[in-house]
Symmetry: C2
Subunit: 312 residues, 2 copies
């Protein structure tokens, strides 16, 4: 009954999705230390930054410097989010970059809010963006925001997701990330949408990008995995958040996700202890408690000495 | 693929499992306000306290007073945890009490730590405890701690769970709560254990009691529901914790669980908004941030005005 892929690929987004709304600006050296720690933990796909305008996201103003100064083995793939042509132009100049993640939203109002055009206009631009990225030797994935609901519009019709998935597949993207931007998904919806996209566009690989805004991030991860998804976006320490939900968490914490998958016998090719160290490092840099749980409790395999008086 | 019972029963344990390790002692009036709020939210099963020795759990020293002073309609069932005969003696004097939840642990070392005897000794005592409770007109359920792993011993053989489940069934308990005391379960293990118990003891109703210590509480809830469980222990605001995991959360937050189930079309017979108010009330009493997410973000159905600059 509980079954899914035996190996999953972690796509670490903490340095982008986790950092972007943080007010405290980390130094490039601190970010480099986090990338180094992720690499030591075995992460192969690291979305390290975003080529957005520094005025919009001051935290990521050092995008080029961070990418170019990262020391990494060939096997580690550095990614950056790009919202538009200008982003790809900047990405194209970074020889150390493996790929770009082009973002658009399934709902018009979120797309307008985020990149100032309707979804159909973004979709029409995708071939040009793909071509520009490819001419710079960059691999492309697409992140589809509001795939499970829009904070402005509510429900998002599945047809919109499928139409975009078809375009993304025809453009031969590495994969499509279905993003639950503000934590509106539930496991039933996740299973239904993944199955619908797989049925309509059988060759397209999907990533699950879940925010824990309403506590269902891990349950949604489980549902996506059961439905066959084998790539998962995650953020060290669960760093992140949402401007609409003060105190609510960000993406699913990488180390919590890896802990759950390892317990179920699913391979992630990452080292849990090093992931915990990365989360703790980030927590030290920010100076506030991150929402990740395993970074506090340690793995379930860590046993204790007798003396607990609790009940259950 | 994602399916389970269409109706679930929430068994609220916040006033017991949530409160018991809190250092700040709530007044009986504050606790009564929380019970009242839970009743307004539609909760029918409320575990309001524990008849443990006040020296061990000073927070619950007002057990009798709380139970007897609760104003409630007939349809609301007040429960108390009891560890031993002395607890049942105290429970028997509370005319307002519906039932007792007898606790024992599946692992010897946790049982010894908790109630100072081996599991087999606790099991041998169950008939006497059941008889004592029944002679006082009390309904009985059993909470089986460390059902998915023991913080002292590690893995707990499924045979131990099944042997206990058989005894509990023969004694005609209302149901058996399988408790993941320190958050060691994973969804695969949950599904396997629920299926194994259902197969071995088909008539026995089960409750899932999951702690979110390692972030998998909601995923484990989902797995148990998919495997057929239709009763779930939960704690308002996710109040609780674990002496071994500073900063780690307690039980799954009632309102997060209810939010997820309602989104999936599963009936809980509770009012989400009132549950959120209960969690916020508890947060105000304690004066620190509770781990519940929906109490911060609001339900997914609450839409926002345009203006968000985030990416995904």
């Amino acid at each position: 009954m509980i079954k899914g892929p035996g190996v999953i690929r972690i796509y670490e987004v903490g340095l982008r999705d986790g950092l972007q709304i943080q007010k405290k600006i980390l130094t490039t050296d601190e970010k480099l230390a986090l990338v180094k720690s992720l690499i030591k933990a075995g992460c192969k796909d690291i979305q390290a930054t975003s080529f957005v305008h520094p005025r919009l996201v001051p935290q990521l103003a050092d995008a080029e410097e961070l990418i170019q100064n990262t020391e990494k083995p060939e096997s580690v793939r550095l990614w950056a989010l790009v919202p538009n042509e200008r982003g790809i132009e900047r990405a194209a100049k970074c020889s150390n970059l493996f790929g770009v993640s082009i973002v658009l939203s399934a709902s018009d109002s979120h797309n307008i809010s985020n990149i100032r055009m309707k979804t159909s206009e973004s979709l029409a631009k995708l071939p040009v963006l793909f071509a520009a990225a490819r001419s710079a030797g960059l691999i492309v994935r697409v992140e589809l925001a509001t795939s499970f609901g829009c904070p402005f519009e509510g429900a998002v019709p599945i047809e919109r997701i499928i139409d975009i998935a078809r375009v993304v597949y025809d453009l031969k993207a590495d994969h499509l990330a279905l993003a639950d931007t503000t934590g509106m998904a539930d496991p039933m919806l996740v299973a239904q949408r993944v199955q619908a996209v797989h049925a309509a566009v059988p060759g397209l690989k999907l990533s699950g990008h879940f925010h824990n805004t309403r506590g269902a991030g891990m349950a949604n991860t489980l549902a996506a995995w059961q439905a066959g998804v084998d790539i998962f976006d995650a953020s060290f320490g669960g760093l992140g958040g949402c401007p609409f939900a003060p105190g609510a968490t960000g993406n699913v914490a990488t180390e919590d996700m890896v802990h759950m998958f390892h317990q179920m016998g699913v391979e992630t090719h990452t080292d849990l202890n090093e992931l915990i160290k990365t989360a703790q490092k980030a927590q030290a840099f920010f100076g506030f408690e991150l929402p990740g749980q395993v970074m506090k409790a340690g793995p379930a395999s860590k046993l204790h000495n007798l003396g607990y008086e609790g009940n259950d």
